[in-house]
Every structure is written in structure tokens, then in C-alpha cells.
């Protein structure tokens, strides 16, 4: 968890200073998809406040958006077809587009579709990296050769 928080803090700074993509939201979405637990909501709330602060926005707006998005992912995980990770593409696209709409509405700005495309594109490598990280302690069955 500590590593994740440090990573999210680092990504928050990167997102605000260097790359104009919602990297924190991508990581939170993917984590909520992999591990639909309560802590995701705390992270969404906390980092929503932090991103709003770094971006000099109104505190709480980004948290609200993040919370809705993460809760939507949790709901999706309740559905029977959620185990198919290929459904991540339409899910992430839809969720990020909705988030971009909400951010654009709250900040009275326009949507950058190019950013949404890159965010969706980035979500797949992030999914595999996070999955590898989260499952690092999961014991896998040994491969036994049939002799």
C-alpha cells in the first residue's frame, strides 16, 4: 500500500507538471478493477483532493469525480462478465470519457480527445504491471511434468 501511495504521489506531480494525462485515475481504475476493495475509495478521495490542490482547482471536485468512477468500476466488478479483461477497453474508454466530461464541465473547459486516447492506450500496460505487482505474493501451482 505504501508503495502504491508513493507511486500515486509521484504520478500526481508528473500529471500536474509534465504529462497532461490523468495518470492517477488510470492507476486507480485499474487497481479497482483488479482489487475491488474499500481502500480504493479512500485513495480516490485523498488523491482527488491532492490533484485538485496541485492543479489549483476547487478542493473536492476531483475527489467526487474519482469516487464516482471508482464506484462504477466496483459495480462493474459485480457483473458476471467482468472477469474478461478485454472488456477493460470499453470500460476504461467509457469511464475516462465520462470523467473528462465531468472535469471539463467543472472547469468550464473543452475535452481533449487526444488525451483520452492516450489514457486508454496507457491503461493496458498499467493493467499488466499492476496485476504483476498485486499478484506477486499469490502462490501459483507448480508445474509438474507427466513422466
Amino acid at each position: 500500500m505504501k508503495t502504491l501511495i508513493i507511486l500515486l504521489i509521484f504520478l500526481s506531480f508528473i500529471q500536474v507538471s509534465l504529462i497532461p494525462l490523468d495518470l492517477v485515475l488510470i492507476v486507480l481504475i485499474i487497481r479497482a478493477y483488479l482489487l475491488p476493495e474499500e481502500r480504493n475509495l479512500y485513495l480516490a478521495f485523498g488523491f482527488g483532493i491532492f490533484i485538485s490542490f496541485l492543479g489549483s482547482g476547487t478542493l473536492g471536485v476531483q475527489s467526487l469525480i474519482y469516487l464516482v468512477v471508482i464506484q462504477a468500476i466496483h459495480l462493474f466488478k459485480k457483473t458476471p462478465f467482468s472477469s474478461n479483461y478485454l472488456l477493460l477497453l470499453p470500460l476504461v474508454t467509457g469511464v475516462l470519457t465520462a470523467s473528462a466530461f465531468l472535469v471539463a464541465y467543472s472547469q468550464k473547459s473543452s475535452i481533449t480527445w487526444q488525451n483520452i486516447f492516450w489514457e486508454v492506450f496507457l491503461s493496458f500496460p498499467v493493467y499488466f504491471i499492476l496485476r504483476l505487482w498485486e499478484e506477486r505474493f499469490v502462490v501459483k501451482k507448480e508445474v509438474k511434468l507427466k513422466v
Partner: protein, 267 residues
């Protein structure tokens, strides 16, 4: 009962609602500038990090930009070189056209185009004969005289549909009736080529006056050649008492290989 069902369907509903409420509460407090002081305090910590990251990003970006700029400059340089090549070629073409136009104007000043009808031709080769780019399809015929300004260049000896060859006065097979003129009088003779590089004016009577520097003109008795065209300049007079006639070495007044255009006298 309904709450229980919703609670079962929506995961972590209680926490979610609390956090949503907290978010709205934060928005409300922030809109009243309640977080002014904590924000300033935290910004002392975050601003240097943001600035450092931003500057690092700019530095990396500029490094990458340099690579792209170098590649772009290389492409641009190549394109510019091609453009320069094309412009040089165009410039050379324009210079050639200008030179041709000037030659044409000079020619019209010298030999009246109302009297002489010319075929404008371009020299395309020089060995023993001078080759021009006009042939029978353009109206060139055998034995027509070719001039430049008021200088005689040669006579058409061979005609193909597209090109023609001229025999030059320096050719050993060329023989022309000529005369030279100066203040003391005039001298007549026969001009023939020697070794393909010089001309000799022969059959000059001893009593006729000819000196170095005199210009030599055509007599025009051959039929194809107008009278008074310049053939060259006397460079040396060869005079021996034991011989009946005098001789004079004649040098062309210009180098044929420098010519851009020549004019075939059609009529």
C-alpha cells in the same frame, strides 16, 4: 428493506456515501476560502517539487527537441541543396537564353534581317567540322553560308534531317576568294585552311599592300557567300622576292567554341 437490498448490490455504499458527502463538504468549505492557510503551507512543500519536475521535463524535452531539430535540419538542408541545384540549373538556362537573345539582337544589327533570311542554330559539336542542331527539316541546305554577326564561320557540307556539318575556313579543303583593305590600298587573294587551325591568304601580288592587323573580307564570288564578311585578321605577312605571290597568315577574330548561336543564311 430497500436500503438493505441496495446495500447488498452496491459494494461499500456506506463509505462511498460518506466520502461523497465529505467531498461536497470540502467543496463548500473551499468555496468560502477556508483552506487558504493550509493550502499555502503545503504549497511551500509541493511547489519546489513541481518546479523541479517541470524544469527537468523542459530539459529532457529540449534534448529530444535538439535530436528532432537536427534531423529536421538535415532534411531541410538536403531539400535546400536540391533547390539550389534546381535554381543554378534555371539560372544557367536563363543566362543561355539571355546570351542567345543578345546574339540575335547583335546579328540583326549587323546583317539586316530584311535582306538576309536566317536560320538560327546552336553549335552542338566541333571536331574537324562544326556541327549545328538544325538540318534539312529546318530548311538547311548544302553550301549555305553560316555567319555570326558579320563574321563568316563556314559552309554547310553535310545535311541530315536534324543536324548539319560546316566546313570551317581553317579546314584544308576550304578555299575562298578574299580581300584585305587598309589605308594604302587593298590586296586580293585566296584564303585556304592549313592544318585545321590556321589560314593562309595566298596569291597576293607583290604590289598589293597588306599589313599585320588588317582585316580579311570575303569577295562573295562563290555565290553562296555575301561580300564583305570578315574571315580573320592578318597576323604575319610572308614575302619572298623569289616568289611571284605573297602570302599572309590569317587568324580568326574569335574562338568558335565560345559561340552560343550561329546563323545559317537561308536566302
Amino acid at each position: 428493506m430497500i436500503y438493505y437490498c441496495v446495500y447488498k448490490v452496491i459494494p461499500h455504499l456506506q463509505i462511498f456515501l460518506i466520502l461523497v458527502f465529505l467531498s461536497f463538504f470540502t467543496i463548500l468549505l473551499d468555496s468560502f476560502k477556508t483552506f487558504g492557510f493550509p493550502k499555502i503551507a503545503v504549497s511551500y512543500l509541493t511547489t519546489p517539487i513541481e518546479y523541479g519536475l517541470y524544469k527537468s521535463g523542459q530539459s529532457i524535452k529540449s534534448q529530444f527537441y535538439f535530436i528532432f531539430a537536427a534531423r529536421f535540419a538535415a532534411k531541410e538542408n538536403k531539400a535546400m541543396q536540391e533547390q539550389i541545384g534546381s535554381l543554378l540549373s534555371e539560372n544557367a538556362d536563363l543566362r543561355r537564353k539571355l546570351s542567345e537573345s543578345e546574339s540575335l539582337i547583335e546579328q540583326e544589327k549587323t546583317l539586316d534581317p530584311k535582306v538576309y533570311k536566317f536560320i538560327i542554330a546552336r553549335p552542338i559539336g566541333l571536331d574537324r567540322y562544326l556541327k549545328i542542331d538544325k538540318g534539312s527539316e529546318d530548311g538547311v541546305k548544302l553550301n549555305q553560308a553560316v555567319v555570326f554577326k558579320d563574321n563568316f564561320l563556314g559552309k554547310v557540307t553535310n545535311v541530315s534531317p536534324k543536324t548539319s556539318s560546316l566546313i570551317l575556313p581553317t579546314d584544308p579543303d576550304s578555299k575562298l576568294a578574299v580581300f584585305s583593305i587598309n589605308k594604302e590600298g587593298r590586296a586580293k587573294g585566296i584564303l585556304s585552311g592549313r592544318f585545321g587551325s590556321e589560314m593562309i591568304m595566298d596569291k597576293i601580288l607583290h604590289e598589293e599592300k597588306i599589313f599585320e592587323g588588317d582585316l580579311v573580307y570575303s569577295e562573295g564570288t562563290e555565290g553562296f557567300l555575301p561580300r564583305g564578311l570578315i574571315l580573320g585578321r592578318v597576323t604575319e605577312v610572308l614575302e619572298r622576292e623569289t616568289e611571284i605571290f605573297k602570302q599572309a597568315k590569317i587568324k580568326p577574330v574569335f574562338d568558335i567554341s565560345d559561340l552560343e548561336l550561329v546563323f545559317v543564311i537561308e536566302e
